[in-house]
């Protein structure tokens, strides 16, 4: 917890300093950065929460799922195709597609010992190109003018000014917490990540455990893609994933891989993304400061993580 606060403070201080060096008022900068609208913050936090859980669940099982980006796309594509069968079907399809896309990596790991770090990255590229093909070809809008799909016929219901995905994402976080810390499945999963040899000795089928963890992890990313499609963009286009898969790493690390912490951390990064957009509009400071802060947070977490363990 202290670590997380130090990391956030360090990152904000660094950005304020950088802004000051280039002649911006650090106070104004931080006020705008942290003062984004609540609705937009929540909208941005939803996919971040789910991709953060994607990372957290996989890390807890000791595997790397850098494939959030690809699973996000797979989920959105499946939701788009299944949209004609209704909302529930579309959301279910997105979870299944995300889990399936992640399972390719765990299958290859189990079958050929292919490192999932590399296969998940490769699967990202494959998904991005498949999406590119879809929006230029079979799924292109009927007017065929831009490389994007038609708008989906269904959408998530609105709750106030945000869509119902917020409830879903929060529920998933609670379920993930319950799964990890209050079920045998979660105990086995964490044991696998903590010490696979010991877990195996204690009778855990490590390979099967990793397989299930990756599926759950990918399912979260897939759901994020489905929710983003049905709640925010309503269409698919080439740059649909927008880095959520990678941002999830910062979200999960700031939360110290705890599912409930991920809620807070996603909210923080969502606020940051919103504020950074506002900063670019009103003060002409690049919105990439949000990315900069993610990076500094990760580095500080690593730095202090070491000291805590030592």
């Amino acid at each position: 917890m202290t670590r997380a606060i130090v990391a956030v403070a360090a990152a904000l201080a660094l950005v304020a300093l950088a802004g000051w060096l280039f002649g911006h008022s650090p106070i104004d900068l931080l006020t705008i950065l942290l003062g984004g609208s609540l609705d937009e913050t929540i909208l941005k936090a939803i996919p971040l929460l789910l991709t953060g859980l994607t990372i957290a669940v996989a890390f807890r099982a000791g595997v790397w799922n850098i494939g959030g980006e690809g699973q996000f796309i797979a989920g959105a594509l499946a939701a788009f195709v299944a949209a004609r069968f209704g909302l529930a079907a579309a959301l279910a399809a997105s979870v299944i597609a995300g889990a399936a896309w992640a399972s390719i990596a765990s299958l290859l790991r189990w079958w050929r010992n292919a490192p999932e770090v590399l296969t998940t990255i490769l699967l990202n590229f494959i998904a991005i190109n498949v999406l590119g093909w879809c929006v230029n070809g079979p799924l292109q809008e009927s007017s065929a003018r831009y490389p994007q799909t038609d708008a989906v016929s269904i959408a998530l219901p609105q709750i106030g000014d945000v869509h119902a995905g917020v409830v879903l994402a929060a529920a998933v976080a609670v379920v993930a917490w319950w799964l990890l810390y209050h079920t045998r499945e979660g105990l086995r999963l964490r044991a696998t990540g903590f010490n696979p040899a010991a877990a195996k000795f204690a009778g855990v089928n490590v390979e099967a455990q990793i397989f299930r963890a990756m599926a759950v992890s990918g399912g979260c990313a897939g759901l994020a893609g489905g929710i983003e499609l049905l709640g925010v963009t309503h269409r698919l286009f080439e740059r649909f994933a927008a880095g959520y898969g990678y941002s999830g790493i910062a979200v999960a690390l700031l939360a110290q891989l705890h599912p409930l912490g991920t809620v807070v951390s996603a909210f923080f990064f969502g606020a940051l993304a919103t504020g950074a957009g506002e900063l670019q509009r009103s003060a002409n400071i690049s919105a990439t400061v949000a990315t900069l802060i993610q990076a500094v947070v990760i580095f500080t977490m690593i730095l202090f993580g070491r000291r805590e363990r030592a």
């Binding site: 850098i66 770090v117 990678y246 690049s286």
Partner: protein
Amino acid sequence: MILLAITAATPLLLAVLGETIVQRSGIINLGIEAMMLTAAMTAVLFAQGSHSAAIGVLGGIAGAAAAGALFGFFAIELHADQIVTGVAANLLALGATGFVYREMEQSAVFVRAVPRLRVDVIVPLAWIVLPIALALVLWRTMFGLRLRACGENPEAVERVRLYRWSALGIESVLTGIAGAHLALMLSSGFAENMVAGRGFIALSIVIFGRWKFKGAILGTALFGIAAAAQYALQAMNRGIEFHLLLALPYVATLLILCGIAGRVRAPEALGR
């Protein structure tokens, strides 16, 4: 057209060569993207400041080395997770260069035409000279043997960190030249996120090339030609299928990784 494709793929090849060396020493550096992007920016700054493209290339190397040093500090010295460190380095470079670029967008540095090398010596350097030199170092010297040993069985090597830092240093020089080539020769200056995933592509070509320099050249050439063909076909308005074709190198790499398309063996201690 092939020559054009080869020229366009030159930064990619340099990155692949650098990453091959680094992975041979047992490190996965996902931060190549960060090194190239930083290099692209510092190359432009140095080239504009000195009105010399050659100084620009040196500036690029300095930029890449700075990003590499950050990665090395966390990954080698602190023994932090290499994947997390690499991803964070990429985010940092993306954020920092984006921020600086926006602040200085209107200044002469980024508006004025960049100085260029009169003859593009980097292309033959990357495709002929460097692969031969690096192959000799890696396979025919004691230094190369020990460097590879760090990637196979680090417990058997004294001063593992020295060799890993050396490998990272070599990669810094290569990715620095790559970033400079990208900014000064292939485009007319810096643009946000201009490396555009080349780092990750380089990573997959390293596997595709099975951690060998011959494979690196072959893989990069194939990839470069495929990418050039994509633009040509897009211009002829038949670009749709090419998104699928573009996915092919990754599918191929995936298959290679699984040992389906030939045998492959990664350095034993890669990532540890």
